[in-house]
Symmetry: C2
Subunit: 408 residues, 2 copies
Amino acid sequence: MSSSFFRQIDPPQRMLMGPGPINAHPRVLRAMSADMLGQFDPEMTEYMNETMALYRQIFMTQNQWTFLVDGTARAGIEAALVSLVEPGDKILLVRAGRFGLLLSEIAERIGATICSLDLPWGEVATLAQIEDALKTHKPKVFACIHGDTSTTMAQPLDGVGALCRKYGVLSYTDVTATLGGMPVRTDAWGIDVVSGGLQKCMAGPPGSAPITISDRAAEHIMARRHVEAGIRAEGVHNGSRARILSNYFDLAMVMDYWSEKRLNHHTEATTMLYGAREAARIALEEGLEARFARHVQASSCLIAGLRAMNLRLFGNDAHRMSNVTGIWIPDGVDGEAIRTRMRDDFGIEIGTAFGPLAGRVWRIGTMGYNAVKHKVLLTLGALEACLAAQGHALPRGAAVDAALADWP
Amino acid sequence: MSSSFFRQIDPPQRMLMGPGPINAHPRVLRAMSADMLGQFDPEMTEYMNETMALYRQIFMTQNQWTFLVDGTARAGIEAALVSLVEPGDKILLVRAGRFGLLLSEIAERIGATICSLDLPWGEVATLAQIEDALKTHKPKVFACIHGDTSTTMAQPLDGVGALCRKYGVLSYTDVTATLGGMPVRTDAWGIDVVSGGLQKCMAGPPGSAPITISDRAAEHIMARRHVEAGIRAEGVHNGSRARILSNYFDLAMVMDYWSEKRLNHHTEATTMLYGAREAARIALEEGLEARFARHVQASSCLIAGLRAMNLRLFGNDAHRMSNVTGIWIPDGVDGEAIRTRMRDDFGIEIGTAFGPLAGRVWRIGTMGYNAVKHKVLLTLGALEACLAAQGHALPRGAAVDAALADWP
């Protein structure tokens, strides 16, 4: 074989302790090696239905409309916003980190009128702030990020859906970084549309975006339905409202495809569906509450170790995500050199940061398949050694001892 | 384990002889079982660069900008059109099948002014027709489908790029159904943007859309660049033209991510990239010309068998795709009952049709991993038996004999 075709895939072993993607559960990858089925094969549509049922449990919802968008997590965000928001509609966004800004960016491109609740990176919005903003701006849609990995903060969502309903507002939340790792209580929160990804606490690869949609949001989206000329069928009518600006992200058509109508839209990404289905099975076998507790324990253990090394955490202690932790890079330490040594000498990846925190903060994830004791301990020990090798003074051995005491 | 979590993935064995998806090459699926890498890990970005180099060969181009869009094939189409076409721009489309209509559908949603060259399903446009339409409409962009599986016709593209350049028009072609199976001569044709998929002649799973972009098209797209607020970096400037309507499909940002700038956009779908890379390696090891010849031989063999059974082919003989063949369902035959028996008794899937051909035409694919002698012979034998079981009169044994004579 000519060298111009390159060697076969054989990635180096990495322990991915950044903000994601993280290592996939091997069962997910094995499930993905099953062969294709035709997209309307009864076995394939049964797998689609089972995937819907599994993700209803993952999203803790009764929503009929619970399925996959075929793209990475941000494909799910864009599908939700472009299907909910018409040009000129007013949308209220919480912007307290990079991914809040992403919501804004997507909504601007749709032609929405943006109203925002802007907060310093590292803070979250209170219910009172959200209610004030809803009253002031009277938006059609409210959108926020649950766990914004750029700040490592989790926006509290209890009561947010009820507030939105009180003011007649549709609500959307991105849970890419929390799904399967922190409670995502779709129905209890009353959030209308929630979308996520696989590559963080779900322990799958990036490339599929699970989404769930309340009946009232689905009704709104279906009013924008516009079936492609090439596949129009009897009994399927176009809606009365403005056509959705994207074909690929037209959730009305995607719902027709995932419904018993099986109106062809895209060709479902079979292999990613196999992976998404297996990731959900693994999470549900463990039990969601046990899984959330494991993430809390892993991040508590990590934090105990970091503090024992005299490292200072970034952000508001009261609202920390339990699956990724921000750390101020100490004065005089070259953060990127530490990350490189962690990777090259220890095979461990930790994360850098974006925007105002770039070069100032590291982010260490404890997500999904990697939210386990031994990986947290190994990461702490490696970080200590790398800091010491740069001449940074710190109490040797303290981090791992403290972590072991925290997770006995 | 509770039954509510369903059994593990274990699809029935199917020989997928429809218009795609078809069976994936096992090496592709095995490559996809490799574990994750961080998205900016040097090994990961090297895999991205290698994937670019491999797809330059697959697309027969020198285009620097040759990479993957993270979604199914229609994600590639939408990314190309939304990045090239601004609201109000005039686009000229060839509409001679379902996927030509899809181009129209996507362009309408972008707010383009649509001009079209409309042809009966089963026909293709001549160079003279295209030139007339370019002169009449003076569009900014010309777009067509190379192989439209809905009609099984291949649009000739020799000279089309040159014509478009003569009239100062940017050109786009979708090659989802032909990439890796029929010649896609991007540079020889002079087409500016070409996008495809993996699930047909590339013998991979659906979920990744390879794309290639000429320098002049890239310059046009880069003039629409608008970097996200959360990741703006020094030396990366916004362009002067209208912002692209989609964030996910903003090819300017996707190019920044695939360039040495490595500006974060989405998280690259690692597993799909592994699969796309392996699918390209396999195709190039076989050799593209040998691969095209294999597809021609497989479809010739199929056609010899179909004709020996007295079945009538759909469409224009001169422009048949060499990887999918349309067949008129004979009068008195229940086409869906045949397809069901093919699947249930023989484990073979053949395709139905869309729109005006629904219920009147079957489509049999000879694509990628399935464009091989034994699968064509087995399909013909099974089809004969299913037709005979419905009481349809035909010369028994003739199809397989004729096919064997064609591919000795």
